[in-house]
């Protein structure tokens, strides 16, 4: 019986204990936070504690700075469960609110910790809703225009709040967002987008210095390819225009010889027959001397009939050559790869020639072997003998060398180098290596610095008539600086041609 009583008592105790566990005062609620979407109203939420098994009511009380008394929440409904909504009349900015939530049931109360807040600090706008994307194509490249509406409940017209926006864009598949700031505009344009890619865009906003809203829902768009229609057209155009070009190229290639003839007429060059160009290239000066001296028999000169090429022929005449104290080895013309063809000498009459010239020309019908003729070749050297008028004695004859740069037609271009100092004005003697009498070359043209264009002197080849320069009136040439040619060395002036044998000057 004792045991039965004990058991009953235990059971009673247990049931009492069980019953008492399910009923208790409520647990302490926790205030989660508050938020104002437009700086005019605000809402607060709390988390209730355990309810103790009994129906529990929660009440929110607040005190306010500069306001006496404790007040209760004006609206428990509008913002949902466990919330309190403060409308405009009950909202004051820039004042502190002290909020507490009290949970109460039949057995007791529980109060949360006080929560202090100022509406100024809890401003966070609602997420933006209506974000639209528009793809526009301009000049062949697509642009993405993003457009959205400002949050509906904010008052920007009165200047109460200023809304600033931010958006972020992501390409499909990627997980990296690119963020852009839009300021206060409600639209934004993206220019560097690729066709065929899906873009996801989100926008958010904030009021003044408040918190940023949540990101809007994602809006996606796929950029279409734009150039499909135009590409085949341009392809056709390019193919069609390429065909005539190709045919023109083929024609040019097949008829290249003709074209070459037409575009680039052949340049006459002197030729020395029986001279081995290779020998000249490789050999020393002695070998070259020998090579040129070997050939003693020159065919007679015939009057030129054929107008194919012009030549100036030079050779060395050993027979009549006195032992030249001034051995002009240096003056030996060492052209590179030249070929002398003595048969094609001609004499050209120029209208500007004076009588003497013509005379010489006619005398060329009987060309003698001993005559020395001078080919002027590109790369050949001509002595430029400077005749000093006043400064030094007549026997002083510094000889300088200028290199013949180019023989072109009936003109000889002489490029004067530094080694021809022209200190004073006088005559410029062009000394031709050879054995012909002194002759003058008529200066045809003086170029800027160094080029003296001489008229060819084919007609002056004549050993028989050793005519001096008295036929030729040369003008006094004004020489300026040593590196410049005399400025008055102009057309129709004359330059002496001095030969090594005749050491006059």
């Amino acid at each position: 019986r004792m045991r039965r009583d004990l058991g009953l008592a235990l059971l009673l105790l247990l049931s009492a204990a069980v019953e008492s566990n399910s009923m208790s005062p409520p647990g302490k609620p926790v205030l989660l936070g508050c938020r104002s979407p437009e700086k005019e109203t605000f809402t607060c939420w709390w988390e209730p504690g355990s309810d103790g098994g009994l129906p529990t009511a929660h009440r929110l009380y607040y005190e306010r700075e500069r306001l006496e008394g404790t007040y209760e929440c004006p609206d428990y409904q509008s913002a949902g469960r466990n919330s309190c909504f403060f409308d405009k009349e009950h909202t004051s900015i820039w004042v502190d609110y002290y909020l507490t939530v009290m949970a109460s049931n039949a057995l007791g109360n529980a109060t949360s910790e006080p929560f202090k807040m100022d509406v100024m600090e809890i401003v966070k706008p609602d997420a933006l809703g209506n974000v639209t994307l528009l793809v526009e194509e301009r000049e062949g490249s697509p642009h993405l225009h993003v457009r959205w509406e400002p949050p509906s409940n904010t008052d920007t017209k009165s200047g109460w709040v200023t809304v600033k926006y931010e958006l972020r864009v992501r390409q499909d598949g990627g997980n990296k967002w690119t963020e852009y700031t839009s300021g206060t505009q409600t639209h934004f344009s993206l220019y560097s987008i690729s066709p065929g890619v899906v873009y996801t865009v989100q926008v958010r906003c904030r009021l003044d210095h408040g918190s940023w809203s949540e990101w809007s829902n994602s809006t996606c768009v796929k950029i279409p390819h734009y150039n499909q229609n135009e590409r085949p057209f341009w392809l056709m155009v390019s193919i069609l225009s390429a065909i005539p070009l190709i045919t023109a190229a083929c024609i040019l290639v097949t008829k290249r010889k003709f074209v070459k003839q037409y575009v680039l007429p052949p340049v006459p060059g002197p030729k020395i027959r029986d001279v081995d160009a290779q020998l000249l290239k490789s050999g020393g000066s002695e070998d070259v001397d020998n090579a040129l001296m070997i050939n003693q028999s020159f065919p007679p000169i015939v009057a030129w009939k054929d107008q194919m090429e012009e030549y100036l022929i030079v050779t060395e005449n050993d027979d009549g050559l006195p032992s030249n104290s001034q051995k002009r080895q240096k003056s030996f013309i060492i052209p590179v790869g030249f070929n002398l063809d003595l048969e094609n000498i001609y004499c050209e009459e120029t209208t500007t020639c004076q009588n003497a010239w013509e005379k010489k020309c006619n005398e060329m019908d009987r060309f003698e072997v001993d005559d020395t003729i001078k080919p002027f070749t590109s790369g050949g050297y001509v002595d430029i003998q400077r005749r000093v008028d006043n400064m030094q004695g007549a026997d002083v004859k510094p000889v300088d060398y200028s290199r013949v740069k180019e023989v072109n037609g009936d003109n000889i271009l002489i490029y004067e180098k530094e080694n021809v100092p022209l200190e004073s004005c006088g005559y410029i003697d062009v000394q031709i290596r050879g054995n012909i009498p002194e002759d003058y070359s008529r200066v045809k043209k003086v170029d800027s610095d160094n080029v003296v264009t001489l008229q060819s002197r084919h007609a002056s080849v004549d050993t028989s008539s050793r005519e001096k320069g008295n036929h030729y009136t040369g003008r006094a040439l004004q020489k300026t600086r040593k590196t410049n040619m005399c400025t008055e060395l102009i057309e129709s002036g004359y330059v002496d041609a001095i030969h090594p044998s005749s050491n006059t000057g």
Binding site: D96, G159, W160
Partner: protein, 230 residues
């Protein structure tokens, strides 16, 4: 030769003189011209408003930053603040506490409120900057911000005075606005902790007041010259 030197030196002096003249002219440039005299650089009222609003936004931003920085050093416990109302020295100035109140307020009153607030903060901010300069807890960055804040309030006050002047000239408001005497800031006490708390309190108060000034200016602007950005 001496003639050359003389002419050169004369030309040089003329150049220097011109330079100084232009510099002086530019320094004193852009006064607000009451009667739009010739040669005066006149700024429109909307332009002036935009400038002061930008200024006030920057001021509030700095005060926000400083306040957050202070919270790292001095996090007020709940007991400390509790239910004691904030001890701002500008509490005596009556300010509208909401949008409707601010819109209902007369323009002159609103302008006056703004000016009162700005005048009231000139000295406390200066002292605050001095305190910060002597504390070794805070880095130079904060100290510079405090100085900037103090200067900006000074500039802002001058700007708002100009705006008020222009509005008076244009007849938008009556001539009753004047820089009234502002309530003095309470003197700092000696205790370090009290001073620290005072600084934090001061920053909270100023953060709030700078926000007020910014908002009031924007409301005023959109009421008077609503063309741009309203």
């Amino acid at each position: 030769m001496p003639g050359n030197i003389r002419s050169v030196s004369f030309a040089w002096m003329v150049l220097v003189y011109l330079l100084f003249c232009s510099r002086r002219a530019s320094v004193g440039a852009a006064p607000i011209c009451a009667n739009a005299q010739a040669g005066c650089h006149v700024l429109s009222l909307a332009n002036l408003f935009d400038r002061v609003i930008q200024h006030s936004a920057r001021t509030h931003s700095i005060s926000n930053d400083l306040h957050s920085e202070f919270e790292q050093y001095f996090l007020p416990s709940k007991n400390h603040i509790g239910r004691v109302s904030r001890n701002c020295h500008t509490s005596s100035i009556l300010t509208p506490n909401g949008k409707d109140n601010a819109q209902r307020m007369a323009r002159e009153e609103l302008t006056e409120v703004i000016l009162k607030l700005l005048v009231a903060w000139r000295d406390p901010l200066w002292h605050f900057h001095q305190n910060m300069a002597h504390h070794h807890d805070f880095n130079n960055f904060s100290s510079n911000k405090a100085l900037e804040m103090s200067d900006m309030v000074h500039e802002l006050r001058k700007g708002v005075e100009k705006v008020a002047e222009k509005m008076q000239v244009l007849g938008i408001i009556s001539n009753t606005v004047s820089s009234l005497a502002s309530p003095e800031a309470s003197l700092p006490s000696d205790s370090a902790e009290w001073r620290l708390m005072k600084d934090y309190n001061l920053l909270s108060c100023f953060r709030r007041d700078s926000n007020k000034v910014q908002n009031y200016l924007k409301i005023l602007k959109c009421r008077i010259v609503p063309e741009h950005g309203c």
